[in-house]
Amino acid sequence: MSRFIFVLLFFTLHTQSLEDDRIIARQGQVSFFSYTSVENIKAENNQVLSIVDLDNGTIAVSMLMNSFVFEKALMKEHFNESYIESDVYPKATFEGKIVDFDRSTNAIQTKMIKGTFTMHGVSKELEIKTKIERSQNKYIFSGTFEALVKHYNIKIPPLLAGNIADTISVNFRFEYEPYEK
């Protein structure tokens, strides 16, 4: 019986959330920075995917670790092979919910997004302050948050400990448009 209700819910969900209710960003930008006195490391990924269901304010983000571009080509190889192990953990994902999302307003709103960020096989609960701008049917989400390297089980060899910061600051910017298959 409960399964039947679940199936019913599933169908009502699908009939209610029209295609228009979902917005997608296919070229989202995520960049991260590590500042130390020895070396500044910066990387950008301009192919981050994100989708938002405006109906209930849920959001999902998925990025390929391989798509990060570094200042130095060898850094990218080290990053993928020795730190983030993208063979084993190719993606970082986030799924969460925008707290008190107001879909009616056209004004700029700053909201918290609560959810789970998974990277290098480790999931962490995050609360990210996000600026949400809207122009007609386009949305822009942007913000900054910080991540601790040691939380994600990323090992830095003692010789290079001075080159990589303990706290990595992450910037993101997503431009959404209506989702069509």
């Binding site: 200042e71 063979d87 799924e95 969460g96």
Partner: protein
């Protein structure tokens, strides 16, 4: 209600999963360094990368008495190697002990992909040439070796596959043409097959081994197939390789055909090798300098 939300969320990730399907993922760092230990790997350097490559070998002569502190003899190959494009690399170097000056071009034909969209393996072609600057007159009597005959060539087809994140294997069919031939009974052309493997012990440390099987050997002196066992260690812009081998020479044509010792622990058979690569980036990956 919480079930309901969870369902909707994983639904969103599923949509993103489908969107990801269009991107091709190339396998990175099958071997990481351009050499497995003594021989070339399928790796080429990315565009604008200059490598300062210094390879050293140390060994004892096997004489009863020796005045040397650490090793009786040493040899070094000092080279500059450069990535002309992401697939094409070149390098030039000189070796102190055997007096060979060498250069090579290396082109990556096929790149392995992590999904089924591209090649199941890496394939790289290598063409190298070496010039033997030794004077042969005093030892070999009247034999005059013209400068044309001092050139040797090696052509290799390097095929490798990264089987898991820890294990890579390489097979290298090789053709060697030797210019300097000291006896008329010796063949000038050799076919050899190289086998190489890398096993990642830790994130920055890997175990490597290589073996070259030479099908037609030089007859005028005893020679053996080169074998090497080593450790590769990567630290940012510096990459170090430590190895034990029976090969004294650094250039392909010399060590594949002319390794005079077998691999065992009697001196002068065993060489300790140490390669250091320093990587300089001339091309910056991020174009826009905005914060």
């Amino acid at each position: 209600m919480s079930n309901f939300i969870l369902f909707a969320q994983s639904d969103l990730l599923d949509i993103l999963e489908k969107e990801h399907k269009d991107t091709v993922n190339f396998t990175s760092a099958t071997f990481k360094m351009t050499r497995i230990a003594i021989g070339h790997s399928t790796e080429t350097r990315k565009k604008g990368i200059l490598e300062v490559f210094v390879a050293n070998r140390f060994w004892n002569t096997g004489a009863d008495r020796s005045q040397s502190f650490f090793a009786d003899r040493m040899s070094a190959r000092i080279a500059l190697e450069y990535g002309l494009s992401d697939r094409l690399s070149t390098g030039f170097g000189g070796t102190t002990f055997d007096g060979l000056f060498d250069g090579y071009f290396k082109y990556k034909l096929v790149r392995q992909t992590t999904d089924k969209k591209g090649g199941p393996f890496n394939m790289t072609i290598l063409q190298s040439a070496s010039y033997n600057s030794n004077s042969f007159g005093s030892i070999y009597g009247e034999r005059e070796i013209s400068s044309n005959n001092r050139l040797s060539f090696t052509s290799q087809l390097l095929i490798s596959r990264k089987f898991s994140s820890n294990f890579s294997l390489q097979i290298a069919p090789t053709f060697v043409h030797r210019g300097v031939v000291l006896s008329n009974e010796d063949p000038k052309n050799h076919f050899a097959v190289g086998f190489g493997a890398r096993y990642k012990l830790r994130n920055h440390l890997s175990l490597v081994s290589e073996y070259y099987y030479n099908t037609n050997k030089i007859k005028s002196f005893d020679n053996y197939n080169p074998f090497v066992l080593g450790v590769n260690w990567e630290q940012g812009d510096v990459m170090l390789q430590f190895m034990l081998t029976n090969a004294v020479n650094f250039v392909e044509d010399a060590f594949i055909t002319g390794t005079r010792n077998n691999f065992n622990f009697r001196s002068p058979n065993l060489n300790f090798g140490f390669n250091a690569t320093y990587v300089i980036h001339f091309k910056r990956g991020l174009k826009n300098k905005r914060k």
